[in-house]
Assembly symmetry: none
Homo-oligomer: 241 residues x 2
DNA sequence: AAACGTCGTTACAAACTCGTTACGCTCGAG
DNA sequence: CTCGAGCGTAACGAGTTTGTAACGACGTTT
């Protein structure tokens, strides 16, 4: 349930708007959109979003007026102007008015996405929380430590941390040892026979305080590999004994 | 008189470089510049500046390598790429590599200034806090001293104070020794092997009365670096019982 | 000159990491 | 049931990283 970032798109041309919505959605953003200046301004002021993609030259309210309102009422909200008005004077005016970037149509979707990322990198303090949690507490990969609900804590080693991050990033799926060797150890598992991974899992289970007899968090899938059982997936699976 | 913002320009073409320097100076910035990749990289790592204007396609070190080093060693320094390489792929790569903006030559000086303003608007250098507190007392960076709750006090040396300020300004994140060498000692850590930082940390811990066995304020993150644990972060993390 | 504070190096001990090996247990196909 | 492959883990050890005592060069203060 990594909270996705939300983009508000104000754009009157239906084709372009749909294209943007599709591209952003595909790129993993939540998107809300408005097709004219009047509704756009309302949404820009009232709605919850992390970035505003703003067309100038809209029917209804002028784009720059929306920008001004946003500056006044939602001052930290980042804005990228996306418009056909590509004259130098327009670009300068747009940026001077407080926009974070100014992209001229026709534009490259890839570049737009890259620019959105660049703006969000600066404007949104912490795009995603670095924490995960499990039964017994919280995982902090920045500090590479586990914090238990009882306030005590343990450190993770570098490899333990990487392994755990990999498993969590692929939670709910059994990961083979070969995949882990490739993904975490960055080595091609050419018929290599090693118990390293098993050892790391054992040490992780100990730190996670997971019962090795019947682990509930870091599962063994015999013949397949290991699997992280995310807390949010648990409920569905628990109901079978 | 608020101190003027300083821009570092790395650009090999003398004409363009002078044009930029003049324009930025006229616009009220302090400007320092480098004419090739090698000296540019050194300045980008060692010098003090608020924004980096970076040309790609330099003689000497490749521009993107400089960008990578800046990302690693001066992580919150904003960068605008300013180059003739205008292909979509280049622009996307530059932005994805962490640049804040990407301006293609030939460019409009007015627009460049507007974009610089836009980037600086978000990446304002945070004013250094003259005070901080920790478990055992209060830190006064103006007097470079520690005041303990029991009324006694100790002085910090110059380097100790700078190091501590850097760590506090980046609290909650593990700072690598290389980043500290760049940010506090202003030297490029090219394969340097030194225990200086460890010694300063040890002396700081002693003055902070932090237990070196399990420090609670100035943490070691093995293999990564050191991290200041701010008092205000402490509560948020612990409260989960 | 002597005493002092700073800050870097060196050297060594201690702690930690992470892989291997060995051995015992478990599961499940036959 | 038996047996072998798969798994858990204790024990070990080479290599790496960290803490810090001791020291020396240097500049400042007394």
């Amino acid at each position: 349930m990594t909270s996705r970032l939300k983009v508000l798109t104000i754009e009157d041309d239906a084709a372009i708007r749909c294209g943007i919505v599709d591209a952003l959605t595909f790129a993993g953003y939540d998107v809300i959109d408005a097709a004219d200046g009047t509704s756009g301004e309302r949404r820009a002021i009232e709605d919850q979003y992390d970035l505003l993609l703003l067309d100038l030259g809209l029917p209804g309210v002028a784009g720059l007026d929306i920008l001004r309102q946003v500056q006044r009422l939602r001052p930290d909200r980042p804005v990228i102007i996306l418009t056909a008005k590509g004259e130098e004077a327009d670009r300068v005016q747009g940026l001077r008015s407080g926009a974070d970037d100014y992209v001229v149509k026709p534009f490259s979707v890839k570049e737009l996405l890259a620019r959105i990322e660049a703006v969000l990198r600066r404007a949104i303090p912490k795009p995603e929380q670095p924490f995960a949690q499990w039964q017994q507490g919280i995982l902090d990969f920045e500090r590479r430590e586990l914090r238990y609900h009882d306030q005590s804590r343990t450190e993770l080693s570098e490899k333990e941390s990487e392994l755990l991050q990999y498993l969590i990033a692929n939670s709910g799926r059994a990961i083979s040892r070969d995949e882990l060797l490739a993904g975490v150890w960055q080595i091609s598992p050419q018929g290599i026979n090693t118990r390293t991974i098993d050892m790391h899992i054992a040490r992780l289970r100990e730190k996670l305080r997971d019962n090795p007899e019947s682990p509930t968090t870091l599962l063994t899938v015999r013949g397949k590999g290991y699997m992280w059982m995310a807390i949010e997936h648990r409920r569905a699976h628990e109901s079978h004994g």
